[in-house]
């Protein structure tokens, strides 16, 4: 298929169509509006349904209903909207329902601003909502990767029967890049035959619910679900190593579009004779800790760069496990650390590494 120029939001919408998603429910919020806008045009063309909900609370319950009857469904929102959906996300996880949720993060906290930020890393990977559960969270760094990962999100959601989140930011959603859509064989939703509510004529009735009053049953359910999370962590962690084949003194950690600024900074630093590698988690939940640990041990010091106040820092520190010091540099509110900012921070880390000798 020929390349076409698309906004990240539109491209994710088309990727969902290509992945066989036929249902979208959502409520408008900047900076992800082009995604529902695009699907409101496209879904009717492929026999699907688009509904603008009355609120994000309604959204999360509508995707619960759709996933419960075994159809492929997605929603998208941005930071405050995802907060409003959070209770429903816990219900979806508690009922083991496969849905895809897109979060195009904007600056926070509160109503804050509409410019891009990585303000919901902690929300997506740790504190999504009440109860014991995890999301599977993938963070793209380009429009093409957003397309590829959106398709993967649907596959993983169905394979593991769990909510999967695509964690982008306003920049991924708003910027335009050439993309192509890989051919994908699309069948009906997989793994739904023995639980989805498809009509009980000729078989025993089923129930899709997150209500478990019996403590023994609930305890067992949660243990079973966390065994599944272990399998997901074993099979599905994804990451990128950049400029790590040669020896490096500083290892930068960054996710999403932030990693692209860091790559440009690494190119600059290379010209100045400074050796820097980059570790970019693609799955931020489960976190590729083992791979990061090995990469960290090859560096003298680590620099974590984010478009927030340091939300991924704790994951990097856990992977460093006290073996190396981790510095942090971040901007938020809609500002992005520039190439110069990153170069400067690398020199500062290098100076600290020298001083420690």
């Amino acid at each position: 298929m020929a390349k076409i120029l698309m906004k990240g939001n539109e491209a994710i919408g088309e990727a969902a169509i290509k992945a066989g998603c036929l249902y979208f429910f959502g409520y408008p919020i900047t900076p992800q509006n082009e995604l529902p806008e695009y699907l409101s045009k496209r879904l009717p063309q492929v026999g699907g349904r688009y509904i603008q909900t009355e609120s994000e609370v309604a959204t999360s319950n509508m995707i619960f209903g759709a996933a419960g009857v075994g159809v492929r469904v997605m929603t998208s929102s941005s930071s405050p909207g995802i907060s409003l959906m959070s209770e429903g996300l816990s219900y979806l996880a508690g009922a083991d329902l496969p849905v895809v949720i897109v979060n195009m993060m904007r600056a926070g906290p509160g109503l804050a601003g509409i410019l891009p930020a990585q303000s919901d890393y902690a929300h997506a990977t740790r504190g999504t909502a009440h109860g014991d559960f995890q999301l599977l969270v993938l963070a793209p760094s380009s429009v093409q990767e957003a397309v590829d990962l959106t398709m993967l999100c649907f596959e993983l959601a169905e394979k593991y029967r769990m909510p999967v989140m695509l964690l982008g930011d306003g920049m991924i959603g708003q910027m335009m890049e050439p993309v192509e859509f890989p051919p994908m064989e699309v069948g009906p939703p997989m793994n739904a035959d023995d639980w989805a509510l498809t009509g009980c004529k000729g078989r025993a009735p089923r129930l899709v619910s997150s209500l478990f009053l019996d403590p023994v049953e609930l305890n067992a359910k949660n243990h079973e679900r966390f065994e599944k999370y272990k399998v997901v962590a074993q099979n599905e962690t994804r990451f990128e190593l950049y400029n790590c084949d040669e020896p490096y003194d500083i290892l930068i950690t960054a996710f999403g579009v932030m990693s692209r600024v860091c790559k440009s900074a690494i190119t600059e630093l290379k010209k100045q004779g400074v050796r820097v590698g980059l570790f970019r988690p693609i799955t931020v939940k489960p976190y590729p800790s083992e791979a990061l640990s090995s990469a960290i041990l090859k560096a003298r010091r680590v620099l974590d760069v984010e478009m927030n106040m340091g939300q991924m820092l704790v994951d990097v520190q856990l992977a460093a496990n006290g073996q190396r010091e981790v510095d942090f540099m971040g901007k938020c509110g809609g500002l992005t650390p520039s190439i110069e900012d990153v170069v400067e921070a690398v020199y500062a880390s290098l100076a600290k590494a020298e001083a420690a000798v």
């Binding site: 390349k3 076409i4 698309m6 600024v261 500002l335 520039s338 190439i339």
Partner: protein, 263 residues
Amino acid sequence: MSRQPNNSLSDEQSMDINGFRPPEKRLNIVVGAFGSGKTEVSVNWAISLARQGLAVKLADLDIANPYFRSREAQQLLRENGVVPIIPTGEVQFSDLPVLIPQIKGLMQHSEKSIAILDVGGDEQGARILASLRNALGAREYSLFQVINSRRPFTDTVDGCVEMIRNIERVSGLNVTATIVNSHLMEYTTKEIILEGMEMGEAVSQRTGIPVAFATVMGDALDVTKLRKCSSCHIAVMQRNMLPPWLSKNAQNSWPLAAGDRRG
């Protein structure tokens, strides 16, 4: 990097190099499908005319896009002698449909300067024009529709004509010419430019709306060769709306420029 006009060239020479010609009318409204490149075309055109010594004002009427609006190039515009007509204060970082009084002023007064109005995408973005129709009155204007044949919904002649008709219906104004802005960023080829020009011609045959000019990014292709391949006039652009990983000058990168309150 200096953003000052290149004084080593005469106005005529520099105009000949980038090919942006002064418009026929003083009031020039730029519309088009979402993501067709209206802002990049408007900013390039305005800067080019200012460098030719003309008085130019660029008004940001984008009420559809949350980012990548011409207000983010305000510093660049001012440095090059273009007067940006944009909302001031923190409201400029909002996604509210802010219409400042100077815009009505631009439409009502017969100013000497050339005005370029950069309007938001699709019929939703063009809706703002309907509210300005009274201010416009009987004044003459040109309404340019920007077309990129590598964008969804305008990749066919039918799609382009439908987009033109939708924008005309909502705005109550008539499209007077098209600007062919076919590209695929770094993957742009000569074929894509020529394909766009052909589509512009086909739209013209169907609707009677002529192609004003086509655009090419200056660093991408051999413009001299392209000019031999088509009778369509070509204007050469430079990419101004750069993401932070492509910009060495943080003050001119997006969205840092939007956060720069010094302007």
